[in-house]
């Protein structure tokens, strides 16, 4: 009984639904079937040879096209090679495909698409693959936006020449691709220096070997032999290694405001993207100078990267920026209040925000009272499509904060330089790189 019900369900529900879907998806097959039915009925009704022959041709076309499409899809081997899974915006993502036909029939058309959710058209090509031949396809796709994207699998679509049937096959697996933001050179950027060496030092341990040995600890496998402190080893009877501290220097904290309510613009021309690019460029700028640079923000996820230096820190910053999303619920004032404990007198503090709210200025003021020096990079929300608001330049100027204003569609390397500085704080400027 159940099998009968299944048959009836298939015949009266599934088949008509499938046919309706097919008709909307593939009008040529729909017309062929309708014409075939008409020709068969008219052949039976009138007995005219033309309808018989027409029905034969239409009836023969369907299985032939089906076989044709199957032959096109059958006997295809696809090998996929991807160069890397980490790129920066502006770089090209390269994939090599090697397609080999083991079929004895020519494949008239194969539409090959590397399925990716990267912005822009997915890489796609159409080839003709003769029997028993192979073809290569090198895909180069420019990464236009930071983020984590999918790459693959390779989708191969083909069909018969008359468009009756279309078959899709997928090859390979989906892989992840991380696109980091592209930092820009900031040759003219200047930020006020914090308390200079002598006014206070930063005691922070580091795994780097510096002239400042700060103590010893027990040896752990993996520690370099050059770090062994032989005297302590001899004295204690077990292997001891030296620990080091960084040079006395000021820390640089960058705060990126990713509060969702203050963002303006869409896509690349949004305050979010500009903020990310600014922070990436700043981090690159300072880390290239071997400065201690840290980052905190609160977007979709809270991010706090303690100040450090070197290429690895830059990678960490860029990775966190790559996935940063301006969906945070914490306003900048709150963020500064929470993370303000990290800001000391020997800290240079850079805020990147598009917020015109004056609340965070108070918090910033408190940090300044603790002796920190600050710079603010204001993303001009008006130019990103926000409503017109007055920039708090006067307040910032009164607080002695260097303020850069970055409007939309501007060159960061210029705007984060003298031409981007607004307000009275310009007078306090010192030679570039003096921080």
């Amino acid at each position: 009984m159940r099998s009968l019900g299944r048959v009836l369900w298939t015949v009266f529900v599934r088949c008509p639904v499938a046919f309706a879907q097919m008709a909307t998806r593939n009008q040529n097959l729909f017309f062929v079937i309708i014409a075939l039915i008409w020709a068969a009925v008219l052949a039976g009704v009138t007995g005219h040879w033309l309808f018989y022959r027409g029905a034969y041709i239409l009836g023969g076309l369907i299985p032939i096209c089906y076989l044709w499409a199957r032959i096109h899809a059958h006997g295809l081997e696809v090998e996929i090679e991807r160069a890397t899974d980490r790129l920066q915006v502006g770089q090209e993502f390269e994939t090599r495909l090697f397609m080999k036909s083991s079929s004895m029939f020519t494949k008239l058309w194969l539409e090959i698409e590397d399925q990716t959710n990267m912005p822009g058209s997915p890489p796609k090509t159409v080839i003709t693959l003769p029997a028993k031949r192979a073809r290569n396809w090198k895909v180069r796709m420019r990464c236009g936006r930071r983020g984590i994207f999918d790459a693959g699998p390779i989708k191969v679509t083909t069909g018969d020449p008359f468009g009756l049937f279309r078959i899709t096959r997928r090859y390979g697996v989906r892989s992840r691709l991380l696109v980091l933001p592209q930092p820009q050179e900031l040759p003219y950027f200047w930020a006020p220096a914090a308390m200079l060496p002598g006014e206070g030092t930063v005691r922070a341990r580091t795994h780097y070997i510096t002239p400042n040995a700060s103590g010893v600890r027990e040896y752990y496998p993996g520690d370099g032999y050059s770090r062994i402190h032989w005297k302590s080893t001899a004295r204690l009877g077990r292997l001891m290694v030296k620990t080091f501290e960084m040079d006395p220097t000021s820390n640089i904290w960058i705060c990126l405001d990713l509060h969702r309510d203050v963002q303006r613009g869409q896509g690349d021309e949004s305050t979010e993207e500009y903020g990310v690019r600014v922070v990436a460029s700043l981090a690159n700028h300072f880390l290239q100078q071997n400065r201690m640079c840290g980052l905190f923000s609160h977007g979709a996820e809270p991010v706090v990267l303690d100040p450090s230096r070197g290429g690895e820190q830059l990678s960490r910053v860029l990775e966190s920026l790559a996935v940063a999303e301006a969906r945070g619920a914490k306003p900048l004032a709150e963020l500064l209040q929470e993370e303000g404990r990290r800001i000391g007198r020997h800290t240079t503090f850079i805020v990147v925000t598009s917020s015109m709210n004056e609340e965070w200025l108070l918090t910033l003021g408190q940090a300044l009272h603790q002796g920190a020096r600050a710079a603010v990079i204001l993303l001009d929300a008006d130019t990103f499509g926000g409503k017109e608001q007055e920039l708090p330049l006067d307040q910032l100027g009164a607080m002695g904060v260097v303020t850069y204003v970055v409007p939309a569609q501007s060159d960061l390397s210029l705007m984060l330089g003298p031409s981007g500085i607004r307000g009275d704080s310009l007078l306090e400027r010192e030679p570039a790189g003096a921080g």
Binding site: A43, V45, T46, G54, G60, W109, T128
Partner: protein, 836 residues
């Protein structure tokens, strides 16, 4: 189908690759699409033009080309459909108007416009009346307009919607209609249309993909269109050839469907009166036996064999007029049948009819001959839509429908005892006399019989059957039997019949003429009959006048628009053929109050007899029309005003020649044996009522038109195609191993065949290991090691094969090949079994 070199051509960007680059928005795929459209469109227009429907038909191909180009250009632009379509319609209207101006003839633009207005005005008058027009202009304009609209939609849907079906299906319908009317000469056109049509479907599919690829910036092979065309063309050729080889089904049209089709055709035929003198280049019977008969101008009768007519009484011979139908109403541009009543005659009922006629005739002094005929249809022809009879039909071998003039039907109240439970037959028995032939019973809403309609034989001279309808068209090779009664009447008897009373409805129907008949026609009739007083003398005078003064000519001009055809024939053309002569006689007789009508059918004479079978072979050129004149007591008597055939057929011979005893030109020795004795009444041979179909007749077969089997050339073509394929496969197979030493060739072939059979060499397997495993699979094979050794030494040792080894290989190879191929077949069988 090996790959083409261009198939692996470098992928290039989508820019048009040729000189067409310089033309804006035109790529060669588009040009190819338009070319296919033009090919398909002109195939249809060519078929229509070659059909020769109308002498004044402007070149449709030009309309097709301009329409398609307009549509494709508009569709190629970014114009919205709501703007482009009105533009296309305006362009089409301008084109049609221009063509119409050229159609109406010479003169300035204003004069031509006036002529168009006048002719359309006259045509609308005919259309809303019941007349028959002889003006083709409206039909031509209609065809032009529909052609433009059709091709515009075609071009638009192909270019803008990438859908070829919208245009191809109507085009196919037009070809089918043309095919039905023009015949099998369109086979070539159909093949071309099918080929181009399916290529166009391929092309539109490709165009849709190309458009998508271009919009996405996708690279594709430059010559992908050629690859598509190349492979699709061969596939289509194979498909079409296969479809042409497979026999068509031997099914006959179901009776209800056939009736519906006939009804539709009959209704459609009624519109022929508005189309003017349509014709086609196909040699078809000039008479369609429909409700309208038009004057066609020049005709070509042809010599196609339509029927074989055998007089089943061997004692009868002679010339005959086989009547198919009659036309009652003259309309200036043609003829129409009058109102008719249908009497369903069941099989065997003709005996009752004959008995009634017999009794009626027994009381009179009329004499006549019963002519039993066995008629076989030799072609699928419109002549199969009616039953042909010599004289009045009195006997049939099947149930059929007899048409009588509606005015001949009388009505009487049903018998008082008749009640709803009585059948029609019982009510007929209760209500009618034996001389009254029942037509139908009129019942009220509760089935109570109210009245009975009948034909009263006492009120007419004879059972006036104007047409006998077989129900459905009699197909090729089917036969039927019919018996007709040919009365024997002398001229004196006909003259004397003027004293009898003519039924009022006959005078009312058959002496009227439309007011459009010019007065000079009437005057001419009066002049011709002169002082002849009797009907017979008047008819004879007109007949003689036409036979002597008007030559027969089948190549005549059509009647000018607006002119009365008989007037044009009598005073301008002064020549014509049977339709014109007979029509002129009818009109002239009616002008002098003699009841007359036009009869059409076939005239057969002794020279038409096939010496081998003794049957009259009826060809297209036996088509004929003559005049029937009504004489009280004797009914309708034929007259022949056309001088190309004898004035006297069966009836007239008895009258004019005085040979009343030899009405059919019988051999004097047989004359006395005639089973006809008018004074003794009717003689109906026993076989008349139920002519059995003879077993030897091909009518037993139910083959329909077109499936008559495999034509030799087609079989040769198929065999040739198959041979070409076999040769191509063989050449390709050998070419693939060409250049290799013989052992390597055999090895390659062995590996290929074994792989197709599911036994591929495994990685790392040596030739000896592989061949050993193969030998286990095919246990009957011996000495396979020889192949492995020969291959190894040739492939890796670069050694020449010894002659003895070569011979052993050569001997072994056919056996090995057979075993491997059987392995392939076994594998296929296994797979299909698994799927089942």
């Amino acid at each position: 189908m090996a790959g083409l070199d261009w198939a692996r051509s470098r992928t290039q960007t989508t820019a048009p690759p040729t000189v067409l680059e310089r033309l804006p928005n035109i790529d060669w795929e588009f040009a190819f699409t338009v070319a296919l459209c033009l090919g398909a469109g002109t195939a249809v227009s060519n078929a229509l033009e070659n059909g020769g429907w109308s002498t004044d038909m402007p070149p449709l191909t030009m309309i097709v080309i301009t329409g398609l180009l307009t549509a494709t250009v508009l569709a190629r632009t970014r114009l919205s459909m709501f703007l482009a379509w009105p533009l296309g319609i305006v362009a089409g209207a301008a084109m049609v108007f221009w063509q119409t101006l050229t159609l109406v003839g010479p003169g300035g633009v204003e004069a031509r416009v006036n002529a168009i207005y006048t002719r359309f005005d006259a045509w609308f008058g005919v259309a809303f009346g019941s007349g028959v027009t002889n003006d083709q202009l409206p039909f031509n304009v209609l065809v032009l307009s529909l052609t433009w609209l059709g091709v515009f939609l075609f071009g638009w849907s192909v270019v803008r919607w990438h859908n070829a079906w919208i245009g191809l299906i109507p085009g196919g319908a037009v070809i089918f209609l043309d095919l039905v009317l023009v015949g099998d000469e369109l086979t070539g056109t159909i093949l071309i249309y099918l080929l181009l049509g399916f290529l166009l479907i391929m092309q539109t599919n490709l165009n849709a993909n190309l458009k998508r690829w271009r919009s996405e910036g996708v690279e594709y092979p430059t010559f992908i269109n050629l690859s598509f065309f190349h492979f699709s063309l061969w596939a289509l050729i194979g498909l079409v050839v296969s479809a042409w080889v497979v026999p068509v089904g031997p099914y006959s049209t179901p009776a209800p469907v056939a009736a519906a089709i006939d009804g539709a055709l009959e209704r459609g035929a009624d519109f022929v009166r508005l189309a003017g003198p349509l014709r086609s280049n196909k040699v078809i019977p000039i008479h369609s036996y429909s409700r309208t008969l038009t004057f066609d101008g020049s005709i070509k009768l042809g010599d196609r064999k339509l029927m074989a007519v055998t007089v089943t009484d061997p004692r009868l011979r002679g010339d005959m007029l086989l009547r198919g139908t009659v036309y009652d109403d003259y309309e200036g541009g043609g003829w129409r049948t009058g109102e008719r009543a249908e009497i369903e005659v069941p099989q065997g009922a003709s005996e009752q009819v004959a008995a009634a006629i017999n009794e009626q005739l027994a009381e009179s002094e009329r004499r006549g001959t019963l002519v039993p005929l066995h008629i076989e249809m030799l072609a699928k022809t419109v002549a199969g839509t009616v039953i042909f009879t010599p004289g009045q039909p009195v006997g049939f071998d099947r149930s059929l429908i007899v048409d009588v003039p509606a005015d001949a039907v009388s009505s009487t109240p049903a018998h008082p005892l008749a009640n709803p439970y009585h059948s029609d037959e019982e009510i007929y028995t209760l209500t009618l006399d034996e001389e009254q032939i029942p037509v139908r019973v009129i019942r009220n809403s509760v089935d109570m019989p109210q009245s009975v309609e009948f034909v009263d034989l006492s009120s007419v001279a004879f059972s006036d059957t104007v047409e006998v309808d077989p129900g459905e068209r009699i197909k090729r090779y089917r036969t039927y039997n019919v018996t007709g009664f040919v009365p024997n009447v002398s001229a004196d008897d006909l003259r004397a019949s003027d004293d009898e009373v003519t039924p009022f409805w006959i005078d009312a129907t058959y002496t009227t003429l439309p007011v459009s008949v010019p007065q000079r026609v009437r005057d001419e009739a009066v002049r011709v009959v002169g002082d002849a007083e009797t009907r017979y003398d008047r008819a004879a005078a007109v007949e003689n006048f036409l036979r002597s003064s008007y030559q027969v000519d089948y190549k005549i001009d059509e009647t000018p628009p607006g002119r009365d055809t008989v007037d044009y024939f009598l005073f301008d053309a002064r020549r014509g053929y049977f339709n014109y002569h007979a029509s002129a006689m009818v009109v002239m007789l009616r002008a002098v109050d003699v009841p007359a009508r036009l009869a059409v059918g076939f005239a057969i004479q002794e020279e038409d007899i096939d010496p081998e079978t003794g049957a009259y072979i009826v060809n297209d050129d036996n088509s004929y029309a003559w005049t029937e004149v009504y004489f009280p007591t004797y009914g309708w008597v034929p007259f022949n005003p056309s001088p190309d055939r004898p004035a006297v057929f069966e009836t007239r011979e008895r009258v004019a020649g005085g040979s009343m005893d030899d009405p059919l030109g019988l051999d004097p020795a047989l004359r006395d044996q005639l089973p006809v004795n008018a004074t003794e009444g009717f003689y109906i041979p026993p076989e008349v009522d139920s002519f059995p179909l003879q077993d030897g007749d091909r009518s037993i077969g139910i083959l329909s038109e077109g499936e008559s089997g495999y034509q030799p050339w087609l079989l040769v073509a198929v065999l040739g195609f198959a041979a070409a394929v076999a040769v191509a496969v063989t050449v390709g197979w050998n070419r693939s191993v060409m250049g290799l030493p013989y052992p390597q060739q055999v090895w390659e072939k062995t590996v290929r065949l074994a792989s197709w059979g599911g036994f591929k060499p495994q990685p790392g397997q040596t030739p000896h290991e592989y061949i050993s495993a193969l030998g286990k699979l095919h246990r009957g094979m011996r000495d396979l090691d020889v192949l492995a050794s020969a291959y190894t030494s040739s492939r890796f040792g670069k050694k020449e094969l010894r002659e003895t080894d070569r011979e052993r290989l050569a001997e072994m190879w056919p056996v090995l090949r057979g075993a491997l191929m059987s392995g392939i077949l076994r594998r296929v069988a296994r797979r299909s079994k698994r799927h089942d």
